[in-house]
């Protein structure tokens, strides 16, 4: 059942359209990420849910109740900010209890709830510390506890990890996901970090220039991108220009080299120019027998990237990257040699512009 719904939501700032015709239904307990580059409208959409921006058009509802024009203080939506936004004049416990005090809850209930939240974020010993006495990771955990303490209908997280260093980011994102699942709270997470979105989310909304490019599970977004932008933004991608040869069989050519694709090409005609995309890890050397997509490739360069070895190959006149897992016994071809490489039909994506 839909918990949070955005229907035809748009936001204009003068002549500039920040968000255009945004539609999304979020189920209760679902973790949805808005993923996209700076200026794509993801934060504006989040701020409209929080009530800090009012949509120019469209309706936002929680549990079927229209909250589009409600004040932020009336929405019961918790928000975690990129810059933590902890109140510097209050201790950790006072910060967490702030929303409950505003709601005039009983002092004993506030104390219990604050203790409960401190236990969840593992900061019981920091209850009496001030924000300036905490590390970035600790501050963000307190901000999370403060947002959760009021038992919000929806938890909004605006790039909460981007100010933290890489190691803490990874551990804290696992903590955020675990707390969200434990409490069963609906969460909307804004990020420009694809790894964060892929690892945290039940669903991802890929956004570009104020519009939704694609909505899907991390698996769908990564493996079956539907647009060039979506494919390029999430993961590494080889892009090439192709030409449809046989729409019925999904056959096309790239620089005269024949490829078969599992993408439905029936809506296209023979000779149509298309964008072809293949992820580097979908290529392999043609040691196994495949019926399709076995092509000659010239080895141009080999780069070690730690766990992965990236091999630059040339098929026809087009350069592709091919990734293979590193291991101490890996046999690599010689640079300059020509090898047969292959990929499955499903790996050959034909995308909309």
């Amino acid at each position: 059942m839909t918990h949070l719904a955005l229907k035809n939501v748009s936001k204009h700032f003068g002549d500039f359209t920040a968000v255009k015709d945004f539609n999304l239904d979020v189920r209760k307990g679902e973790f949805v990420s808005f993923l996209g580059p700076s200026g794509c409208g993801k934060t504006t959409t989040l701020r409209m849910i929080a009530g800090f921006e009012i949509p120019t058009e469209g309706v936002i509802s929680i549990e079927g109740i229209d909250i589009t024009n409600k004040a932020p203080s009336q929405r019961n939506v918790g928000m975690v900010f990129q810059s933590y936004a902890l109140f510097p004049n209050m201790t950790v416990a006072q910060n967490i209890g702030f929303g409950l005090r505003i709601r005039k809850e009983k002092e004993s209930d506030i104390t219990d709830r604050v203790k409960e939240m401190l236990a969840i974020i593992n900061l019981e010993k920091k209850a009496d510390s001030y924000p300036y006495q905490l590390s970035g990771g600790q501050m963000q955990r307190v901000a999370l506890a403060r947002a959760l303490a009021i038992r919000p209908e929806v938890l909004l997280l605006d790039e909460p990890l981007s100010a933290l260093d890489a190691k803490i980011r990874v551990s804290l994102r696992a903590e955020i996901r675990s707390i969200q699942q434990k409490l069963g709270i609906t969460a909307i997470y804004v990020t420009h970090d694809q790894e964060e979105a892929l690892s945290l989310s039940d669903r991802i909304v890929v956004m570009n220039m104020g519009e939704m490019e694609q909505v899907g599970t991390p698996f769908e977004i990564y493996n079956f991108p539907t647009t060039v932008f979506s494919a390029n933004f999430v993961g590494t991608l080889n892009n090439a220009n192709g030409e449809v040869v046989d729409p019925a069989n999904g056959t096309l050519t790239v620089d005269g080299v024949k490829f078969e694709s599992a993408t439905d090409l029936k809506s296209r005609k023979k000779g149509d120019k298309v964008k072809v995309a293949i992820r580097p890890e979908r290529f392999s050397f043609a040691s196994e027998i495949r019926k399709a997509n076995v092509v000659d490739a010239k080895i141009e360069n080999i780069t070690f990237l730690g766990s992965v070895v990236r091999i630059q190959i040339k098929i026809g006149n087009t350069r592709f990257n091919m990734d293979t897992f590193n291991n101490p016994f890996l046999e690599l071809p010689k640079i300059g040699s020509t090898e047969q490489v292959t990929c499955s039909k499903e790996a050959v994506l034909v995308l909309d512009e």
Binding site: G51, F52, S73, M79, A85, F87, N89, F98
Partner: protein, 296 residues
């Protein structure tokens, strides 16, 4: 070991004296115009007319009612103008920072404040006499337009406690604007949004978050305003001609010696001022550190 060799400049003995070259004029200035006069002040406080050591000057500070009254009057005027100028200056700074007034107005006010906070002494006194004195322009205008004589029909008197306070306000509130504008800029938008998000109204945000965060800055600035007014001499002397016996005028009378002449007592009174100013500045420094910790 290799790390120590990475920064050979810092360990070069030849460059050590060069580092101090830039601050030499400051130290010279401080020694000549701060340290030596202070020493002279302390020594003078404990010296009698015959050049012998004495506690009499310092003891007189607590024994002579006129001196205690002078200190009290200075404290009252300084406190009144610090509080008045502080509140007025804060409201002005609020209007042009978070109050949402047009940005050009902010630039204009900050520029005005920079000039006005340094506009004191005889020119300021003359400006007020020319506008609000017995025959001042504004006094005459009010009389002509409304038929009200400020000096005979109201309690107003430019040469009184409140008249002097009003004059001091001219340089007090701009100083408050200059100090408070950056502090108000330091209030993060996210604090307001976080408070709203947690259910707080605008009043609750100001009462529970913004005002407590700003309080050390406000109090610290008011202490600075207090010190600013406490040390003022020329404005008060030019405006009242000694009618109001504030401490700086009393010190001037003792040292200049037209009627009173006891330089030793004058030095002791000045030392008392230094003590009060030092306490004020320590308070300011403590509060400033506290607000910096919160607003960083």
């Amino acid at each position: 070991m290799a790390q120590t060799a990475l920064n050979p400049k810092s360990s070069s003995p030849g460059s050590d004296w060069k580092k101090w070259l830039g601050v030499t004029p400051f130290f010279l200035f401080a020694i000549l115009f701060l340290v030596l006069p202070s020493l002279r002040l302390v020594m003078g406080s404990f010296t009698n007319d015959e050049g012998r050591f004495t506690f009499a000057n310092v003891l007189q500070l607590f024994q002579q009612q006129s001196i205690l009254d002078a200190y009290w009057l200075s404290i009252r005027i300084s406190a009144a103008t610090a509080i008045g100028g502080g509140i007025f200056g804060f409201l002005l700074a609020y209007s042009v920072t978070v109050g949402g007034l047009p940005k050009p107005l902010r630039s204009a006010l900050i520029t005005f404040s920079g000039v006005a906070s340094n506009f004191a002494g005889v020119p300021l006194a003359f400006a007020f006499i020319a506008t609000l004195g017995r025959t001042g322009f504004v006094t005459a205008l009010i009389k002509n337009l409304f038929g009200v004589n400020l000096y005979t029909q109201t309690e107003f008197d430019l040469y009184s406690f409140w008249g002097l306070s009003l004059t001091y306000m001219y340089f007090q509130f701009p100083l408050m604007v200059l100090i408070m504008a950056p502090a108000l800029d330091g209030l993060k938008r996210e604090w307001r949004e976080a408070a709203e998000n947690l259910g707080a109204s605008t009043a609750q945000y100001w009462f529970r978050v913004a005002f407590p965060v700003l309080l050390p800055s406000i109090l610290g600035s008011m202490i600075l305003l207090f010190g600013n007014a406490f040390g003022a001499y020329a404005t008060a002397y030019a405006l009242t001609g000694g009618r109001l016996g504030i401490i700086t005028i009393q010190i001037g009378a003792q040292i200049r010696g037209d009627v009173l002449h006891n330089p030793g007592l004058g030095y002791a009174m000045a030392m008392g001022m230094v003590v009060i100013m030092a306490i004020s500045l320590m308070g300011y420094s403590w509060l400033q550190k506290r607000s910096e910790r919160w607003l960083r």
